[in-house]
Amino acid sequence: MSSLRYRTIKDKIFFYCVCGLSSLTVIPLFAIIWELIRKGYKQINWSFFTETAPSTLDAMLARGTGDIIPGGIANGILGTLLMVAIASVIAIPVGIMVGIHLSEHPKTKFSNATRFITDLIQGSPSIVIGIIAYAWVVKPLGGYSAFAGSVSLAIMMIPLIVRSTEETLKMLPGSLKEAGLALGSSYTNVILRVLLPSAFGGLFTGILLAVSRVMGETAPLMLTALGSTAINWNVMEPTSAVPLLIWEFYNDPNLIDMIWSSSLFLLILVLSLNLIAKHIAKKWKIQ
């Protein structure tokens, strides 16, 4: 009997430990968000989105008089959007096509090999992908460029999109395809007009998650896009990105104040994409 009481108490203690440690685990998220808001909100104003990053000298002068550092991160925002857009143009069609092939021929040797390789690429560290894009684009073309950055981001996005496409298509009932074929439409039409539209929610979620994943990447861009102080539309020129700017601000004592607002902006961007994607996924699964 006493041993039973002892076991019951032990069970309770373990349960409370599990609950306690689980709730501790959510603290970092809120701590990080709180820290960024607390330190960064001051810097976020209209010019934050419209002006380019300030020079060290301007920042130093502003700090001397106790003013808010002038300038913004417009060059970073545009660079990020530009590079993510080009990366998406490369990665989305390829990723979806591969995903279609894998779900259409799930068990062939070729598919297994493709799946294996996709996993391999997905597991590679982002810095290694940076080296690859450097070797493929930066070196042959003789300079850092937004395009090189986009290539590295695209390599990271493809496996994510392949996986989500395959998973989504696998969830569709097989009767859908049969019904399409039975109506006499061609294989291509069934896939493009029946399967892909029915899977749209899942595909879109996968794409959004992939975008939010690469948007915050810094390491591969350091080896490819390098960064730039000016707004730059030429994809063959070095270009900045929000994470690259954060890295620059971090390394420049005069610009420290800017890291919080830029990080806050980046975090809000990435997390809201994430949340939107998950919201769509939830809705889509219910249907």
Binding site: R7, T8, K10, D11, F14, F15, V18, C19, L21, S22, T25, V26, P28, A31, I32, E35, P93, M97, V98, H101, L102, E104, F110, T114, I117, T118, D119, L120, I121, G123, P125, I127, V128, I129, G130, I131, I132, A135, W136, I155, V162, T188, I191, R213, G216, E217, T218, A219, M222, L223, P243, I246, W247, Y250, S263, L267, V270, L271, N274, K278
Partner: protein, 283 residues
């Protein structure tokens, strides 16, 4: 006709992915060749010397391999006491309840935070704590980076292992309860052993994540090129040395950095394959 072209296109895209991977390996290998030729493969791995001085240039990867393995395994150890409770919370105690969905989606968001933001948070919020504790006068080092790394990999470890825990059949748990076990007894003797290999695989995947993490580690490890002598010592990981020195490198140094990239690629690939293999057997 159109169908044929379409099918060819699908296969073509798969081949493209295979080529990308082959190209990655080719570029890494060909880029590292001059370093390996200069120092010998095993000597390169086994030497901890990293001296870029033009006259006596020598490069070895040992310090960074050790730094990578130390930070990653330490991060894994630190993450277990948190990710396992979370997995039990979402996969067993509150399986299917709203509170479990809430907790797991919050923790999933941790995975969405960019590495560089973790680095900043570690630098400005966490590093002072290390200094106050007197562990390291600057607050940088293996320990600091592994703690931040641990937070970063918690979502990977907990969400997957939670899924494996929730997959343990109800009938087994009922059988265990019917014999008089408490919830803890059932978790210990039935739930964890049955989900064991899946949980193990999730932790290996999380380890793979930690091995390749770059920015946060670069900002916290202290960036010294010597072999770390203790857990509070500073150092460099394979990823952080590449991030730090790639920009200004050429010649042998560049080749050595690419060689380190190749080694990092190899290590993470092996780790990920082991995890996938275990999971395949588990299912």
């Amino acid at each position: 006709m159109r169908d044929k072209i379409f099918k060819k296109l699908l296969v073509g895209c798969c081949i493209l992915v295979l080529l990308v991977c082959a190209g990655m390996i080719y570029s890494l290998v060909s880029g590292s060749l001059s370093a390996f030729n200069q120092y010998g493969f095993f000597h390169f791995i086994g030497s901890s010397e990293w001296d870029p001085h033009p006259d006596r240039e020598t490069y070895g990867a040992l310090s960074f391999i050790v730094g990578t393995l130390l930070t990653s395994f330490l991060a894994l150890i630190f993450c277990i006491p948190f990710s396992l409770p979370v997995a039990l919370f979402t996969g067993s105690y509150f399986r299917g309840k709203k509170i479990a969905t809430f907790i797991s989606s919050i923790i999933d968001l941790l995975a969405g935070i960019p590495s560089i933001v973790y680095g900043l948070w570690g630098f400005y919020t966490f590093r002072p704590i290390i200094i106050d504790l007197g562990l390291n006068s600057q607050g940088f080092g293996i320990l600091t980076s592994s703690i931040i790394l641990a937070i970063m990999i918690i979502p990977y470890a907990s969400s997957l292992s939670g899924e494996f825990i929730s997959m343990v059949p109800n009938e087994l748990k009922e059988a265990a309860y019917s014999l008089g076990g408490t919830r803890l007894d059932v978790i210990r003797t039935v739930t964890l052993p049955n989900a064991g290999s899946g949980i193990f695989a999730s932790y290996i995947l999380a380890l793979g994540r930690a091995l390749g993490e770059t920015m946060a580690v670069t900002m916290l490890i202290g960036n010294t090129n010597n072999l770390p002598r203790s857990l509070v010592d500073t150092g460099n990981t394979m990823a952080s040395i590449i991030a730090n020195q790639f920009g200004e490198a050429d010649g042998l140094k560049l080749s050595s950095l690419i060689a380190i990239g190749l080694l990092l690629f190899g290590i993470t690939a092996v780790i990920n394959l082991i995890a996938k293999f275990i999971m395949k057997k588990f299912n």
